[in-house]
Symmetry: D2
Subunit: 366 residues, 4 copies
Amino acid sequence: MSYSTFGRIFRFTTWGESHGPALGVVVDGCPPGIGLTAAEIQIALDKRKPGTSKFVTQRKEPDTVKILSGVFEDDRTEGLRTTGAPISLVIENVDQRSKDYSDIRDKYRPGHADFTYDAKYGFRDYRGGGRSSARETAVRVAAGVVAEKALAHVIGATPTIRACLVQMGRHEIDRQKFNWDEVNENPFFCPDADAAKLWAEKLDEARKSGSSMGAVIEIVASGVPAGLGAPVYAKLDSDLASAMMSINAAKGVEIGAGFEAAALSGEQNADEIRVRDGAPHFLSNKAGGILGGISSGQDIVVRVAIKPTSSILTPRKTITRDGTETDIQTKGRHDPCVGIRGVPVAEAMMALVLADHALMHRAQCG
Amino acid sequence: MSYSTFGRIFRFTTWGESHGPALGVVVDGCPPGIGLTAAEIQIALDKRKPGTSKFVTQRKEPDTVKILSGVFEDDRTEGLRTTGAPISLVIENVDQRSKDYSDIRDKYRPGHADFTYDAKYGFRDYRGGGRSSARETAVRVAAGVVAEKALAHVIGATPTIRACLVQMGRHEIDRQKFNWDEVNENPFFCPDADAAKLWAEKLDEARKSGSSMGAVIEIVASGVPAGLGAPVYAKLDSDLASAMMSINAAKGVEIGAGFEAAALSGEQNADEIRVRDGAPHFLSNKAGGILGGISSGQDIVVRVAIKPTSSILTPRKTITRDGTETDIQTKGRHDPCVGIRGVPVAEAMMALVLADHALMHRAQCG
Amino acid sequence: MSYSTFGRIFRFTTWGESHGPALGVVVDGCPPGIGLTAAEIQIALDKRKPGTSKFVTQRKEPDTVKILSGVFEDDRTEGLRTTGAPISLVIENVDQRSKDYSDIRDKYRPGHADFTYDAKYGFRDYRGGGRSSARETAVRVAAGVVAEKALAHVIGATPTIRACLVQMGRHEIDRQKFNWDEVNENPFFCPDADAAKLWAEKLDEARKSGSSMGAVIEIVASGVPAGLGAPVYAKLDSDLASAMMSINAAKGVEIGAGFEAAALSGEQNADEIRVRDGAPHFLSNKAGGILGGISSGQDIVVRVAIKPTSSILTPRKTITRDGTETDIQTKGRHDPCVGIRGVPVAEAMMALVLADHALMHRAQCG
Amino acid sequence: MSYSTFGRIFRFTTWGESHGPALGVVVDGCPPGIGLTAAEIQIALDKRKPGTSKFVTQRKEPDTVKILSGVFEDDRTEGLRTTGAPISLVIENVDQRSKDYSDIRDKYRPGHADFTYDAKYGFRDYRGGGRSSARETAVRVAAGVVAEKALAHVIGATPTIRACLVQMGRHEIDRQKFNWDEVNENPFFCPDADAAKLWAEKLDEARKSGSSMGAVIEIVASGVPAGLGAPVYAKLDSDLASAMMSINAAKGVEIGAGFEAAALSGEQNADEIRVRDGAPHFLSNKAGGILGGISSGQDIVVRVAIKPTSSILTPRKTITRDGTETDIQTKGRHDPCVGIRGVPVAEAMMALVLADHALMHRAQCG
């Protein structure tokens, strides 16, 4: 029973607060012999790091990762290799601006975890949201890189795991214009170039007015073999749901057709099967690549709903710790749409769940 | 790492196949001293059991539960009491119709777990779906009764946990007509009497044409104190997402405003707080009762999308185990809308997650 | 976090009380495709079952096991095969003699768990010791058979796991006369025929005088490949220590030279290595087959100290539940040396730990 | 399923190698509101740190601990307090002497984990023993301080947890001279001043001749309330056995009378009970404070056998990685009796298990 650990066999444990000295993650259960360098992890971190455009928080964090254990190099290993021992990754906090937190300390920000943390623990580290800050997700992204490499190592192939934003506010992308190549060409991880332009406009409006917007992330894993997952309680989709819902501000998760499946008939929903190139070939993917909790070999498709950032400039009604009614206006550096920086996090969580299930499958089925 | 266990401290492990001799569940970690009888569990099972109307499978299973361990009675206990030892509950299968399964054995039913089980395990118990059958959920309902009693025992109050169907096919209920008292007055657990009439008509059509319908379940827990849950990876909403996604045919889970939250502005989404009767009072419940993974004291509101039953009379394209293209038509006794009987299961899963978190909270915070 | 489950990936959960209707175990995580019949399990159970000689309890329990889930047979499987689903094994209690338990109910038997159960839970199922009865170990033996088969399946070879009694009371066997073939030729699982004769005499004396004797069990696993185990907290020896200490009445566990190692010099204790038949060959086995928590390929040797049965006819000083000083004399049917029937249990626990570690190793290292 | 984590609810995960940049531990599940400073942890670390006498390794490590997360201070908290979030503790390695490891790299040191690590992982970080080095235990001691404070917090009283060496080589202490006050007066944590003198002589001889000695550690926890623990698989003694056996070089664990219990009669072994000062009072403590896996309120007494250090100057027969027969002589800085520095580690493990069980008990029984 772990409060701060995720995974069943490939497990990671994160620690650290938004304004503490550092954040870190311990990745345990990684197979030995996998090449792994800090530079590779850094590439993924740089996608998520704050301050890259006006649409994300202006906090300046280099998010430089260090590997403190679990890798080894000598003249026989061809570079750094995982040893099978726990891998400790640490990122120092640099730009914890020394500001006055007395507002947050005494007033509960609506939509934030302020009230519930106090209700649970009696007090809290309120500086920048403490443990509930999205800064924690930096180390998930770092762990996700280890997971992607472990997954490829175990299944003997390199699946493609990608994520993007398919909706911002009420503005969905046009599926006809979906293009993965666009995703890194705009500050929103948006696969539709036209939608990205509209979003820029809308989000700029929201940002200037001190408001915020929600979003929907879509994560797709291609090239995952059939057979990963388990029936009933260690289902691949159960674990993905748990993983995605653990991301800050997530309020919904769906697989394949998701909520739309409720409106379909049995005929529409069942993905028919043919043979193509000697292998089973599904004629549609309403299932999102998972049947009975186990991967079918099709693309695994997950969507996550992210609520609008709760830190807004408009004053909201709230109460103080001692129960007095008051108002609060959240100043400081915030993401006007926290869903944007959630994209690499969701991608990392997909990798982490798949790596875990690859090991689980190997354990039971060889 | 458990394949067939759910829960962190209050844990249950289920076993059994659709056409095996019996199904069962072992509930571990239950506090001692709680009154518990088979008769109480039977009441909940009777809500879920098959054959109660023409809208559910006609398989006749009395679903009679036996308590084989973990309770004790003498002249000091005022009836049967839990002892703190594991509680073993067993339900015998009675109506495993002796029919020919050669069709299912050799052909993969689209939408079912047939293909993925074979891909994972090399073969499977195909009789009635084996382990992936919704019959497994009977014992979850039994365990859910233990959970509800444990939850009340630990928090010293009796929360109300209820579930209903808020959508069948594309037909949603009218929220203005929502009435919990209606839920047990129709065969759909529908809180809107008018919608129930429409659904009866639509589902009858689907049933007669050999088709099936999806649905959306809503589960609401009232009276849960603030403070249950945990940040980051043992979040109450993460665990609820995992629990609900583990239900057969579930394809989506959302909390509070859920996917709709993505379309809201920060102002619309943040639930403002006032004081009422000396206690914090939220002016709305977009959060669905959970902030930062921890309960806020508001109603906990979860919705689950259930896909249409994959067993349909219309022939569908598929392949055989040895890779030959063919068609399949699923005969036998099936639920035309498996979402209906999912309602008590989802209610049970809510109880199980809350009981678990009540114990987790007591462990850490006293 | 499980109270009633043992294992990491290959896990089993037991339930049932001495005088409840039945005992059972759910084995989860077993690989699919392994042949398994109730008859095979029965053979192991018959070794442990009560009433086989005057040196064990006279309770008459046939200990007939039923497999209720997790196996499947059709014309392609060549008999019953595990499916990868949880395996539920149940043994009914038959000879729960309807006697008066008022003595145990109100008085704490010294050496038993009566006092501590009441201290923990507030009350207990005192009939025959309830959950703390050695009857629970019957289902461990059943699970152990599944484990032995799973272990052989995973490592692709059949290790030999054997156990015996090497000491009864203060009477140790003569290591020169150690002969595994003798173990099933006497009622003590004693590998030294002469010692068995002496033990028969001594235990008969103890039994007649209403006393009891302790014992030391030795378990040896041969043919286990090098590489099972893990450093630091999932050490093979840590898990064996936990497994063996969980056996009723166990008070000590040692590996290889064990406590004697404390008295050796570094030179004496380090097992030197040579090459024999092209493979590493150790010149001694002080380590008991485990170095740094990982198997070395040598015999794994574990010893367990079992205290004398606490149920004795001599009156002992004790107190009642309400704190009155009194005496107690334990009548009823008891094992004068509970260590004897612990032998197959310890053997089963060795198999369970090794199967678990075989799966753990396959998960991480392929 | 965790390779590098110990505990059920109060859990800690360690990481780091002997010659990596740092070692660390993440303590998860700690209750909030407990005062905790780095200075307190430092006191315990200083007891274990190397280089304090000629009888321990001459490696110079200040073992300065930093708390990187999980504590918080403001003007309302009266100093640093745990927040309920994971506590990350880090110790930097300073004195990783840059020496040539080619000997260890290619030759397996008998008694060490060199051969088994290679057998498992295919290669290893051999510098100073890597992950299997006793340096890992530094962070256990740090975690143990958190555990002691958590235990006291949860049970509302301060138990006394102490450890000492009761045997070095074949030289046991005289129980008549046992005095806890002596333990910190000699370099061996020996409670018998006369034995300490003899040990000094013997160990000096061993050290000078390049040999090494084993030892037996005794750990005693006084003031632990009755009721901690659980029956069957989460037994307090099972968890203690696992904890102690996880210490480097441990080969045996016993509780109370331990192996001696095997030689006792039932009459001798059963601890009789009387009433003293209105509370149950045991007339002896053969059980070592644990009955049926649950604490009885008596002193919890555990002994651990530690083998002699495997690093010795006498050349031993071994093989190289490629299977050539050779000799090895272990140079470098080593503890001639690793049992000495195991004393604070064993004390920490006792605290960790008790804190875990205090939380487990509170979860289930309030």
